[in-house]
Amino acid sequence: MNLMSRSLLLVACLALAACNNPRAGGTFGSGGADGFGNDGFFDAGITTGNLGDPNDPRSVAHFQQRIGDRVFFTVDSSSLTEEGRSTLREQARWLNTNTQFSIVMEGHADERGTRDYNIALGERRANAAMQFLISQGVSANRMRVVSYGKDRPVEACAAQRCWDINRRAVTAISGVSG
């Protein structure tokens, strides 16, 4: 599938969704560019799309803002937290209903590590989240993994507050599947 068409619809959604993610509170909103940096398709440059109404449970906006598109990890760990599993269960329910979407599972690390190790760690985290979605019935064919290591922080502030939100796996809705 062509990168451009995949990214067409939903890049903009990611940007707005991050601002309203209930798990993140108001934290993600201040940077302005949040979400764009995470979706992996910023280079495509096309950000036209219909977010939908977050009150519509079938909308992508609902997935990102009500369910939450990301789960967080403790230092140097790729184990899903109870809260993370709960988010992923809801993500799986949504994905199993809205089967037209494919996803990119992004793995990220905080900045307190070396670059290569953090790419490997990011892949572990993305894989952990993806495997959980698979266990919840989401087809592996709809998912692919990308690890950004420490190089795509949500917010870089060289403090615990930022490191905590940067250690994450983000379920990026990347386009219409198939």
Partner: protein, 439 residues
């Protein structure tokens, strides 16, 4: 076409005039292995212009030679303003008492002539205390646009004659040049002279790139690129401008590439299914061989200079530690046992030491240890130090340092832990890979 290595035909002509035998050159000597507390004072007067066109390079050449030597921390310049004598003829005898009077130990004299775009540079080195020339005069010839390289070659020859080690000034460094906000960073592959001059950008910044590695020949670069959306390994030839993606493993993130010492292949990491292993690829055949198969992370590989072993990091013990295994794979031996986590082991080009990043108690360090893990020494400490790379003579390490809340910059430190210096770059910079001494 990227013209990275400017044509420089260096005719190392020996200037026989008034030379003394090498045996007499011994007194002017620095032992650099223990670190030097008192740098050797030297004088580098402006190069004598042997024709009018050479005049514009007289001072510039001298300044580059002097900066190279001073930046080692092993030498201290007695500045031209303090000189009593003036070198007006390259072949005239040296009046040593004029230099002893201002406490100079090493005197370097030079001459330059320019004809069209061709340039000839000569130099001599004198031991002021014994009143003797050290070695014979040397002459370099090349084009004027490689004038800095000729100054580097003079400095390399001086460094080598006084320390007994090969130099490292006429070498280049590949790195990642960063710009923009931390949250949406632009990263470009770049190359520069070891002193931060002549920066050239090799990628346009549209795709994120990280972790370059330069070949031992200095002509090719491996790096990780996100141009396809997932991490892939690119191989770039800086001479021809050719570029290709290599090391594809279906469904895997591939990264952390390093050349084999002979340049015929590479070793790299592939992450798939939550597991990162090391692979080796032969460039000629495209054949890929898996080297590790542990359900843990194995990354940041580095070959021993003889190509027989690979050092790498793995968290198979629970935390990241340094291992060594045969270059064809097989049983790996752990060599790091101190407190904290160890990452990014890099084998010295001399083969004697392995440099690494260490994370302990919230601080990051660049350190060195012997290949059996003994004699660990930490050379730096900061909020974030990482990605060490060796100077071609194995005496200096360049690395990435990031102050808390600041931008990353390149720094260098010598293997005794002295002479920590920031390397100038056009903006934030990371992931240096130091190339060979150029021919």
């Amino acid at each position: 076409m990227i013209r990275l290595f400017q044509f420089l035909s260096v005719c190392a002509l020996i200037l026989g005039l008034s030379a003394v035998s090498p045996a007499q050159a011994q007194p002017l000597r620095l032992q650099i292995t223990e670190g030097v507390i008192e740098p050797m004072p030297f004088a580098m007067p402006a190069f004598v212009a042997e024709n009018s066109a050479g005049g514009q390079y007289s001072d510039a050449l001298a300044r580059v030679v002097a900066a190279n030597l001073s930046n080692t921390g092993l030498f201290r310049e007695v500045p031209p303003q303090a000189h009593i004598a003036r070198i007006s003829s390259f072949d005239a005898g040296v009046n040593y008492s004029d230099w002893r009077a201002i406490n100079v130990q090493a005197l370097i004299t030079g001459a330059v002539s320019v004809s069209g775009n061709r340039m000839t540079v000569k130099f001599r080195l004198f031991d002021v205390l014994t009143g003797q020339q050290v070695g014979q005069g040397l002459q370099f010839a090349g084009t004027t646009d490689s004038w800095r390289r000729m100054a580097h070659k003079v400095a390399d020859a001086v460094y080598s004659r006084i320390t007994g080690e090969s130099g490292y000034f006429d070498s280049r460094v590949v790195f990642i040049s960063e710009s923009g906000s931390r949250e949406n960073r632009t990263r470009r592959l770049a190359i520069m002279d070891q002193d931060g001059e002549n920066v050239q950008f090799l990628t346009d910044g549209r795709a994120m790139v990280v972790g370059p590695a330069i070949s031992r020949s200095g002509e090719r670069i491996l790096y990780t690129t996100y141009e396809t959306g997932t991490p892939r390994i690119a191989l770039m030839n800086t001479q021809t401008g050719q570029r290709q993606l290599v090391g594809d493993i279906p469904g895997a993130q591939v990264f952390s590439p390093r050349f084999t010492p002979d340049g015929s292949g590479l070793v790299f990491s592939a992450a798939r299914g939550g597991n990162t292993d090391l692979y080796r690829m032969t460039l000629g055949t495209g054949q890929i061989q898996q080297l590790t198969s542990s359900p843990a992370i194995a990354t940041a590989p580095s070959f021993s200079p003889d190509g027989r072993f690979i050092t790498f990091e793995s968290d198979r013990s629970g935390t990241s530690q340094i291992y060594i295994m045969p270059a064809s794979g097989g049983e790996a031996q752990r060599i790091s046992f101190g407190q904290g986590r160890y990452n990014t082991p890099v084998w010295s080009p001399r083969g004697d030491l392995i440099a690494f990043t260490k994370q302990n108690a919230g601080r990051f360090h660049i350190g060195v240890m012997r290949r059996d893990g003994s004699e660990e020494r930490l050379l730096t400490a900061s909020f974030l130090d990482e990605s060490p790379t060796w100077a071609p003579n194995g005496r200096v390490i360049m690395f990435t340092r990031e102050a808390q809340g600041g931008n990353p910059s390149l720094y260098s430190v010598d293997i005794t832990g002295r002479n920590l210096r920031r390397v100038p770059t056009p903006g934030p910079a990371s992931d240096p890979s130091w190339g060979p001494l150029l021919p």
